[in-house]
Amino acid sequence: MRKSSLAIAAMLLLGTAQAAFSQGGVSWWYEQATPEQQKLIQQNIIAPFNAAHPDSVLAVDYRGSELDKQLRVAMLSGNGPDVVYTAGPSYVAPMAQSGQLMALDDYAAKFKWQDRILPVFLKMGEYNGKIYALPKTYETVGLFFNKTLFEKNSWQAPKTLDELETLADAMLKAGVTPFAAGNADWRGANEWFVTLALNSVAGPENMNKALRGELPWTSEPFVKAIDRLDGWWQKGYFGKNYFSLTSSEQAADMMASGRAGMMPTGTWQFQNVASYGKKAGTEPGFVGFPSASGDPVFPLGIGSTFSIATRAKNPDGAAAVINYVFSPEVYGTMNSAWQGEWNIPLKDISTVKMASEVTPLFTETMKTLTAAVSDGDYGYTTWTFLPPATDSYLINGIEEVWLKKSTTQDFLAKLDASFQKEKKAGKVPAVPAR
């Protein structure tokens, strides 16, 4: 009797939940997140959103690191979530091309996204003149350095590429590895350095032309950039254990402990830099990556994007969720606890309240980046602006140059061939005008 009552109660509960969800539920598939990170999403997004929108109950489903593959299969069969969370703009173009995503222009007007979101990011989510995606987070790659070690050796943070090389040579002489870097856990780390070389040597203007198809990747500025990067590798700036070290923890530990002096990496490393610096009792510093002219370069990157599925059961609810994420409250709470992953591209972050434990270095860096982007003074990260096959070749092909299995010319020729093919197929993400 008791069992049957329980079964009836459970069925009723399930039925009610199902009915509620089919009426106004919003589904969002998220990537990998630790239990602590899931708790943050629950506390700072799901709970306040559901409290404010009782008619559109948000349910986040954590799909792990294979989200991208699951999403593609689900979208093909028309069973995907309402909020489509992709790994970056290069995934948006083919989805929009095949009619799987809804144009967001009406919602952009309704929620006044043009007034609240940095225009360059709205432009990056465009396909055929319509907005299909909004970037969740933006990032840049720069130069972390061990401030304590620099003060001890009277070293100055470099501004030009020549200063960088002089400093790196001095570090080699002192038995310090110039760059803390590794790719054992993430082969994609290779492209952080290619991105830096392309932006600092060839420059953002040339990158912009190449991405628009107005300049081939085989042209002289890019040859110089890859040759210079290869020179750094051959001189041993990356150390002898690059392929054995992890790109995140072990690299951060190497710099914090003083075994390496600098770490060219992205803003996503702030949390590791802070915790390993604390452990080693050293203070970190961060500057924009040096360039030929001496003005720092901030290559702009996007981690992931939001879209709405054409077959979404509740598109209005999905738009409300995306709109809620783009608020100073979510920026402040999520970015304080999960630095680097929730740099939502808001135009005005002056009203954002960050937690007291967030390092001033991080806050200052993000302010500098926001200002650089607002002024149109930014570079291009390869993982954001290159189409998938070209980017994949860049990651693996650069190793062939470093290990003398290929030449700079061959590498760039293959890169250009792949890029032109994908450009012809309409797979190159949107590049905002400078």
Binding site: N241, F243, A389
Partner: protein, 281 residues
């Protein structure tokens, strides 16, 4: 009516094996990013592979891998199984020890070797370096990456062959072994003329399966090097995976899968012929 009994298996085979296999073969003739509509391109994917140096590196690596696995673990397994047959008292203990790596999850085995043995920071390699012995992590050199991965897979795999061979050796009639001893055969003569011929069908099966499995190898390569550095440890399956999920070139990935299947098919044909000959005898 009794034919209905095969229906569940038939449905499972059609849905899980036949349809996906046929679709893979079909996709090999299409250009498809996994999202938009596929475009028929004829043999273009195969032509692209033919001109791609990475494809030839991957194919060569698969052949080298097959040769290594046809020789090393089979020899080690046979030797250890024969030893266990002689020293029966401790056979159970050694069977468990040899078999232990087989039951450890591949990802864990890979990470243990990567972190505790090969790593210059946390592994034995690093320890040796600190004592002044210049040992490099084999996974980081283009000349040794494939062999570094093969060592891990050998450690994980040979115990399985050993247990299989030991089970087969125990089926060899004891009268034959006794007769060989009475006739004055030495230990190696007993192996050569009695034991090996007695378990030849098992060895043949294991060798054919080794060829098939060697062309399917993916897990250890992907965990330890992801095919690098500079494609030096790329194998066909990691190449197919990268093509499908990173390059979004599903048609090219399907063409690579068809090539992998051809090698498996060739090995299967050989196996069926060998089996047919055994039946005839």
């Amino acid at each position: 009516m009794h034919r209905l009994y095969v229906l569940p298996t038939l449905i499972i085979n059609i849905v899980i094996i036949a349809i996906p296999a046929l679709m893979t073969v079909m996709l090999a003739f299409f250009e498809w990013d996994g999202i938009s509509d596929p475009i028929f391109v004829g043999l273009d994917n195969f032509r692209t592979l033919w001109d791609d140096s990475v494809f030839w590196t991957a194919l060569t690596n698969n052949v080298v891998w097959t040769i290594i696995f046809l020789i090393v673990p089979i020899t080690m397994g046979l030797l250890a199984a024969t030893m266990m047959l002689v020293a029966r008292r401790s056979a159970n203990f050694f069977q468990v020890i040899y078999f232990l790596p087989v039951i450890i999850a591949t990802a864990i085995t890979g990470r243990v070797w990567q972190g505790m043995i090969y790593s210059p920071v946390t592994g034995i390699t690093g320890l040796l370096q600190r004592y002044g012995i210049d040992v490099a992590n084999p996974l980081t050199e283009t000349s040794s990456a494939l062999y570094g991965i093969a060592v891990v897979d050998l450690w994980h795999w040979w115990g399985f062959l050993c247990v299989i061979f030991f089970a087969a050796l125990r089926q060899v009639p004891s009268e034959q072994i006794e007769a060989a001893r009475v006739e004055g055969a030495t230990f190696f003569q007993t192996i050569r003329y009695v034991l090996l011929p007695g378990i030849m069908p098992t060895i043949t099966l294991m060798m054919i399966m080794t060829v098939i499995w060697s062309f399917l190898v993916f897990d250890f390569v992907y965990i330890l090097t992801q095919g690098g550095p500079a494609y030096s440890s790329e194998v066909l399956s990691t190449f197919a995976y990268r093509s499908a999920f990173y390059d979004l070139a599903v048609g090219k990935a399907a063409a690579i899968s068809v090539v992998i299947s051809l090698f498996g098919l060739a090995a299967t044909v050989v196996y069926i012929r060998v089996q047919a000959r055994e039946f005839d005898q």
